[in-house]
């Protein structure tokens, strides 16, 4: 139980800061969650006879989901159940689309997701450049400017001739589209 309490103490303030728009906190949060999620998915998938690349794919999909769905986190609630619910949802979704037997999913404790770290990442099967090609020109441009070139939303809006809110919406939709094509990529 100390483990989960430590996690809350460590990660929840990072999440709350990231909701305020603190990029460093967001990065620290995603980095720490990624190692925990990696350990979780590696363990889960190993039991189904799948390797670390699939675990990395799934973990990255969950990271994108955590990012694009962070507005669904209620800051008055603990963070762990929220992360766990998303990870579990994506895991079940993954199993469903890879046609694995549903009953292979053991019922486990919420605490398991934060119990272990695994910092040894492998490369996932996706290529960022390739993922970018599935986006609409607007979304691609917005993500290129703001997320890759590091321009502010305002600068990106001026350069692309879109409004600031259109840039924000394009980024949000674009990331969701990328997550969806990751999902399709793991269908085989």
């Amino acid at each position: 139980m100390t483990d989960i309490r430590l996690t809350e103490l460590e990660l929840r303030p990072l999440m709350i800061a990231s909701l305020e728009g603190d990029a460093d906190a967001h990065k620290a949060l995603l980095t720490r969650l990624s190692s925990r999620l990696r350990a979780y998915f590696k363990g889960r998938l190993a039991r189904l006879g799948r390797g670390p690349v699939e675990a990395e794919d799934l973990m990255q999909e969950v990271l994108i989901a955590i990012h694009t769905q962070r507005h669904t986190y209620d800051a008055t609630q603990p963070l762990t159940p929220w992360v766990y619910a998303i990870a579990r949802y994506k895991f079940l979704d993954y199993l469903r689309r890879t046609m694995a037997a549903r009953n292979a999913v053991p019922i486990e404790e919420t605490t398991e997701i934060v119990a272990h770290d695994d910092v040894e990442g492998v490369e996932s099967a996706f290529d960022l450049k390739k993922l970018m090609t599935v986006l609409s020109p607007k979304a691609r441009q917005a993500i290129q400017y703001v997320k890759l070139d590091g321009l502010s939303v305002r600068e990106a809006a001026m350069r692309s001739g879109m409004s600031e809110s259109a840039v924000k919406v394009s980024i949000h939709r674009g990331l969701k589209t990328m997550a969806r094509s990751i999902r399709r990529g793991t269908q085989e």
């Binding site: 990065k27 990271l63 990012h67 507005h71 800051a75 998303i86 979704d93 996932s124 321009l151 939303v153």
Partner: protein, 212 residues
């Protein structure tokens, strides 16, 4: 793609998040859905003529109360369901409560009322009721699906079912302004039945429409 690359992309220029806007969006969608269902009622079957008697108003109130008894807890439950990790089993029972209450009241009325049981069950327009309520529920349901997709429901079948029940209850509330059949058994069977039907349809559509 390496994970640190992905994290780098995701945490470049992080926008602050507006708190609780999906909850507000859900509530406004329900309000809009109610208005939409009412308008569909107006242009299709139209309001009941000659509402004014105390009995008619009483039954209208009862039908609306029945619908509200489903809409209120249903919306509260949806609000939890669209936030991951906040799912709970208990509110499901609260949602069944209005169905139970109206069924008991209907049985009591039939035991007490001496005559015309058949008429009190089938009324004059039971078939229209069964068609109109799901029909009026279509617009609210579409709105609810949109609002729920702004969130991240993780139990799609349950979320779809509740959305169907709420939409069905909104449809029933709209139909109540037309409905000329004033009896408890009628409300229990045809209102209850068509709202439950909307719930079943919602449960079937949920996994397809709400996936993210």
């Amino acid at each position: 793609m390496r994970t640190d690359q992905l994290i780098e992309v995701l945490s470049t220029n992080v926008e602050p998040v507006t708190r609780r806007w999906i909850d507000r969006a859900l509530i406004w969608t329900v309000v809009a859905g109610a208005v939409g269902a009412f308008c569909v009622m107006l242009v299709t079957v139209g309001p009941r003529s000659g509402v004014g008697g105390a009995a008619e108003l009483g039954f209208l109130g009862l039908k609306l109360l029945f619908a509200l008894g489903i809409i209120g807890p249903g919306v509260a439950y949806l609000m939890r369901l669209m936030h991951p990790g906040r799912d709970a089993r208990r509110p499901f029972a609260v949602l069944l409560l209005p169905f139970g209450v109206i069924a008991l009241a209907a049985v009591a009325a039939m035991l007490a009322g001496p005559s015309a049981t058949r008429a009190s069950i089938f009324g004059t327009q039971w078939a229209l009721c069964l068609v109109c309520i799901p029909l009026f529920a279509v617009l609210p349901f579409a709105g609810l699906v949109w609002a729920l997709r702004q969130g991240a429901p993780t139990n799609l079948r349950r979320t779809g079912a509740i959305a169907g029940l709420v939409a069905g209850a909104l449809g029933a509330a709209a139909y109540a302004f037309h409905c000329p059949d004033d009896s408890l058994p009628f409300i229990a069977i045809w209102y209850g039945g068509s709202i439950a039907l909307a719930g079943v349809i919602g449960a079937l559509l949920g996994p397809k429409l709400l996936r993210w």
